[in-house]
Symmetry: C2
Subunit: 495 residues, 2 copies
């Protein structure tokens, strides 16, 4: 993973930049002491670390605007950061760049039930949105595993998903409006409480753009009423292929479960050892299928799902009889990652997505690859969405093991693309999958993506080195001519 | 409504251009005879007419690519056209431009139940998608009133909605993938059958871009299982304000009806006279609320909706007792536009969206405006979404009446923006609302929108004069320097 050459000039001007930023922000909001900076050296992709030049912690949109305008005028790179839980290195700092942390944007600004939405600052946690409205029976649907920690602004940047996205959609399907600051300091208001919007859909475009197009300082999300009831069923199968076929059949019947998760044998054992979820230990694959809605609908659908499972040879079927039991079923799934941590000194969590009916084929191929590399792989994933999270087990202290794990991971993602899938479901590309983008996109696609980047950030100061394999200079792509020292859009002509 | 000055040079080269296009396409696919061209002179916004220079009817992506590449190289403007049902003039031709009609792209390419999607060519009608899958109990959710005629490609271009979008989302929420040809002839594959995608969300960006960014030649949409049952209730109120309050309360309770439509007194009477839907004639406002799902859930929710309506003073409540009766309730709603056509020689259908809780205020203000202009207004709209469709009644043969109607319409849309809404819900901006975009967007917003346009179509050859009030030259905006005669991105540098 190669990052762009750091700008020695900027590093040499560190003192001066600190002083300038202290003109914009309160003293305590500009962090430059190496010990304090270390807290920001990585995100959830801990294999990569880099101490940033400076960290700033603004608390108003106006401050963000001033910081970005300053960085723009002085050609300083900026890495936006939410809660730092990215699993793809989306918030990995740069030696010659500022980290713009949004931790102080931690207020719920408005709960509006008549328009069924919440307006929040980007540093509010995902669960914080639900906490603000659950007294009235509402919740915010997308639920990443990290939901107690991850920020709603980070969710927008990564278009985060979760167990319930099968039925309720990803972040982009639950987002209504954004306030965004562009690299030149200008402030865009995108969308709002209303349905749809005229003009190009910048709301969609910003979502999942991984901090490369702008910095979000306000988020309006849709909330939903909690379902009247929910029950889950554990379905055990003798092969992962049979479980995969069952998933495809449930969907083909038109049933959309609240969640439909799959675990393979190693995952089942690891989770059961760890939290005693009540999983069967003599099956090769386990599905957890949750149905939600009015009790009578839930009962009816559970019956249909059980029948479908039977035709696919399910050897185990247990329906939760209480909310406690349902919570226990999920506890195993949610503890699967740490549980795998007990099996192996290190693991590498992948995130690819495939068309649902390709599950059996991909699972078989992954098993062959595991033998080829001599590294174990544990599968825990959002089966209903076709969103895989293979955990590759390795030992970082064993020379060459990490490299082997990364190669194995690359092969898995390449396979996902081969069968008509994509490199990521919900973790983003970041630095992790950047160098694989060429396997997914044609040159035409990548150039068009880059033209969009140029329309927002022509100098590539926002989160450079992430998502795209190598940045074209906008000037080359668009035959744009930038005069030395002249800003790319200093005085915008009036309409 | 001012359009850009036509390019006399292009008009003068008409013969030569016809010959060139006949090299790319079969003879019969290049239309240039004035009588035949007249069939394309307007779309659903019939107040505006313009005979195009030439119409081409390609039938493969490759042909579209060659046509666009030719137009790009020869600076010829292109207006893409689906079924021509746009109500905002999105497919209004240009005197100096080619209309690229997609009527020959009329095949369903694939129905895939395991991945719950349909792959279709853009000229397939909206209802054609449902027709292709209903034998298996599935349907395509967004349902514009024009669904028997409008094309799925046009739905993508306008991000079309419909009665059921309250619960099931607009086109953008039901779209999975696109094949798009850019103005330089390059072909992009965006999204697919899988969940989400890496890179910037070009799928979202293309949706609703009104033919200004590219030409869609293949569409992959999500299909849904038909709900187990559906019932509708008619709720009558003594004032539109009370009905508006009731809508806000239903939503605030967390209930999401399949559809929630509102009609005011003139609309009720016109529809009842026309189709005998069984509407009460002594109320000022009527809500049609449809609940769908398992029968027991539907019954329960109908009861809750009725209770809420009662607290808002509903004076009429009738629940459909059969599918025939439910169909009759809807027949009135669906016939409301032609029914108004019997009341007034002409009417002008508006399309603004407001936050749901602003309904009562906006309805009152509209009544005041109606008195001020001396023109009647009939309201039939998607109340649950806050998507208004006021029909302004006028007489085109009465001098000054059309201008008054347009001014009245402009005032309504400006009011929508004032209360935090937007200029369009589902009809698009087109030429109709183009000059109002400045009331919605700041200069910063508009410039950023234009930068996005420049990233796709720097010479502004695709559907110029639509959506945006006046186009900046990309060169000015981005300090882009285009040499005379040199193409904006002729040789794309390799990664």
């Amino acid at each position: 993973m190669q990052m762009p050459e750091p700008d020695r000039g900027v590093i040499g001007r560190k003192r001066e930049i600190i002083a300038d930023l202290q003109e914009i922000l309160p003293q305590e909001s500009v962090i430059y002491d190496e010990d304090e900076l270390r807290a920001y050296e990585n995100d959830g992709l801990t294999a990569y670390r880099q101490i940033p030049l400076i960290v700033v912690l603004p608390e108003t949109t106006d401050q963000v605007s001033q910081v970005l305008q300053y960085c723009h005028e002085n050609s300083i790179k900026v890495v936006p950061r939410g809660a730092g839980t990215s699993l793809s290195g989306g918030a990995l700092p740069l030696e010659d760049g500022i980290v713009l942390g949004l931790g102080k944007f931690n207020q719920i600004l408005e709960t509006d039930f008549e328009n069924r939405c919440v307006v929040a600052q980007p540093g509010v946690t995902n669960l914080g949105i639900t906490n603000a409205v659950e007294h009235a029976g509402f919740y915010y649907a997308p639920d990443p595993s990290s939901q107690i920690a991850c920020s709603i602004g980070g969710n927008v940047a990564e278009n985060s998903g979760g167990v319930h996205c099968l039925k309720y959609g990803l972040t982009t399907n639950n987002l209504l409006g954004l306030k965004v600051v562009l690299i030149d300091g200008s402030i865009l208001e995108i969308g709002g409480k209303h349905l749809d919007s005229e003009g190009y859909d910048l709301l969609g475009l910003m979502t999942g753009s991984e901090g490369l197009l702008g910095v979000v300082t306000e988020v309006t999300v849709r909330i939903l009423q909690k379902p009247a009831s929910a029950r889950a069923v554990l379905l055990g199968f003798e092969t992962s292929e049979a479980a995969g076929d069952c998933v495809a059949s449930v969907i083909a019947e038109g049933i959309i479960p609240g969640g439909m998760e799959m675990m393979d044998r190693p995952a089942i054992h690891a989770a059961e050892d760890f939290v005693k979820a009540g999983y069967p230990l003599d099956v090769d694959a386990l599905l957890i299928v949750e149905l939600d809605g009015p009790p009578v609908e839930v009962d009816h659908l559970l019956e249909r799902v059980s029948e479908i499972a039977k035709t696919h040879g399910a050897v185990y079927n247990r329906i939760s009889e209480s909310d406690e039991e349902r919570a226990r079923f999920w506890a195993g799934r949610k503890a699967a990652f740490p549980a795998v941590g007990r099996l192996s000194p290190d693991y590498y969590c992948m995130d690819g997505t495939i068309p649902r009916n390709k599950l059996p084929h991909v699972l078989t191929r992954m098993r062959e690859m595991s033998e080829h590399y001599g590294l174990g792989v544990v599968n825990v994933f959002h089966a209903g969405d076709g969103n895989l999270h293979p955990l590759i087990m390795y030992d970082a202290n064993k020379p060459g093991d990490l490299e082997k794990a990364e190669e194995f991971g690359g092969d898995i993602l390449t396979l996902c693309v081969e069968v008509g899938g994509v490199l990521t479901g919900e973790h983003g590309v970041g630095v992790e999958k950047r160098d694989l983008m060429g396997s997914m996109f044609s040159e035409i696609d990548l150039n068009q993506q880059q033209r969009v980047k140029c329309a927002f950030d022509p100098d590539s100061l926002l989160n450079p080195g992430k998502v795209f394999p190598q940045l074209h200079r906008c000037a080359e792509l668009g035959r744009m001519h930038i005069h030395r020292g002249q800003l790319p859009f200093p005085d915008i002509p009036r309409f």
